[in-house]
Symmetry: C2
Subunit: 273 residues, 2 copies
């Protein structure tokens, strides 16, 4: 079941006012701050709906919900007491050399299925899900000041799907959900948010075979819209402002069950492992 | 001269209505379609202002302008007649093997300062500017159906700066300008837009040393906001809809001259060359 575009009546009005065709839509990024921490077992949808209510906002039919994985991991209890981790001699030696926490390195290795690079104190792994990132996504910031570490959700697509279904039950709208994490990149400085879990929309937009306005057939136009939505969301969400989620309103996504695996390049096709 | 935040009176009004603090700002992405092609010597600022006027829109004081490099390259005459390119025997052999255009491969090599990977018909180079991407950013889509190729601007920061200064002269507002291109990424499928030229703002947001709400000091929080803005812009701009530019309204950027080089990791620190 693929519906090509989701645009609310409000957005259509704005579109008509501007006399624009269907492609020329304004998008909005609406932050959803949470006043309180998420704890294991909490309903994230509950907290988000409360926050929106306080702002006199509601979900609309052309919304996408983007959620930082941290609150998902917290709600799912993916929290590890670092005092209970006994690092290997190898992890201890490597961590000592670069003044790192050996317990975090140990956890990162346990959460990985491959080490991609380990050099200069940087550990790049492939997680069990297939994401390639530093320390398997194991994080100690925004948890509780360094006593506990947070792991990625076991199955972020399943997490996104659960949020999607609960939202649908509560709002009667099928709102796509993205779960994101912050990764570094080869060659470029600075971190950017990426999609690690998706439900309700396709993560890629495939324009291959379509023609540009000059009649030239596009060959390489497979656009990672889920990663672009994740990066966009990061502009209003943040580590320091207790805003772990936002709405992206007006993006013409393609409905689908959604599968983050579509964003992962098969190792045989990859040139940078 | 660093001003920390730029928020228009309109946006401040919206902010107050929602009872939010300074971090909880809504962002808008406003596409700027162009009815006609950009030709060498055209004033991009002129065309963008005309388009906005037709939509009854004007630039505001909390705007950032994002422009796809293609119109910048066209305006700057970075167009190459492919019939005049004589590829080397090596380029011909390699292109033939993978059914590619040897002239494009030849141009890509000429525009590069290093070949990072060449395998399975994929050519990843480091451009003279230091960007690592496929075919040195040489492009034949959205030019004229395959007869000409488009090169990246000679100095995209200078291009951004010129747009920034012309906009300032015309609108009396200092609006940061980003020039973007579409790149692939290691490990992940699909293309995403990246910042290749910047003026008027810092490309990175540095939260290192600040404390999260739990008192934990952030170590790794250097955020590539320029790349996130570029990726966000791509959600409303597109190859197929004649929309090569957009406004991002409401993002609290840090003013600065701006230097894309800050986004490029020095080769000695990079693990993926």
């Amino acid at each position: 079941m693929t519906k090509p575009r989701h645009v609310s009546k409000k957005t259509e009005g704005k579109q008509r006012r501007h006399g624009l065709n269907q492609f020329h839509l304004e998008l909005s990024l609406i932050p959803i701050p949470l006043a309180h921490e998420i704890s294991p077992g909490d309903s994230i949808v509950d907290k988000l709906l409360q926050s929106l209510e306080q702002q006199n906002l509601t979900f609309e039919s052309d919304d996408i919900l983007v959620v930082k994985h941290k609150i998902v991991s917290k709600a799912e209890g993916r929290i590890v007491d670092l005092t209970r981790i006994k690092p290997s001699a190898h992890s201890i030696a490597w961590a000592k050399k670069y003044k790192l926490d050996a317990r975090v390195i140990e956890l990162a290795l346990r959460e990985s299925r491959a080490v991609i690079r380990r050099k200069n104190g940087v550990l790049i792994t492939e997680t069990r899900h297939g994401f390639i990132c530093a320390n398997s996504g194991v994080d100690v910031s925004n948890v509780d000041g360094g006593r506990h570490a947070l792991l990625l959700p076991v199955d972020p697509d399943r997490s996104a799907r659960q949020l999607h279904l609960e939202l649908k039950r509560r709002t009667k709208i099928a709102i796509p959900v993205l779960v994101t994490d912050t990764f570094g990149r080869p060659w470029r400085e600075g971190l950017v948010d990426f999609c690690i879990g998706i439900a309700g929309m396709k993560p890629l937009r495939d324009d291959r075979g379509r023609r540009d306005p000059h009649g030239y057939t596009l060959h390489a136009s497979l656009e990672a819209v889920a990663d672009e939505l994740a990066a966009a969301a990061s502009l209003v969400c943040g580590k320091l402002n207790r805003t772990p989620a936002c709405i992206i309103r007006g993006f013409p996504y393609e409905s689908s069950r959604g599968r983050t695996g579509d964003l992962l390049r098969p190792p045989v096709k990859d040139l940078f492992r």
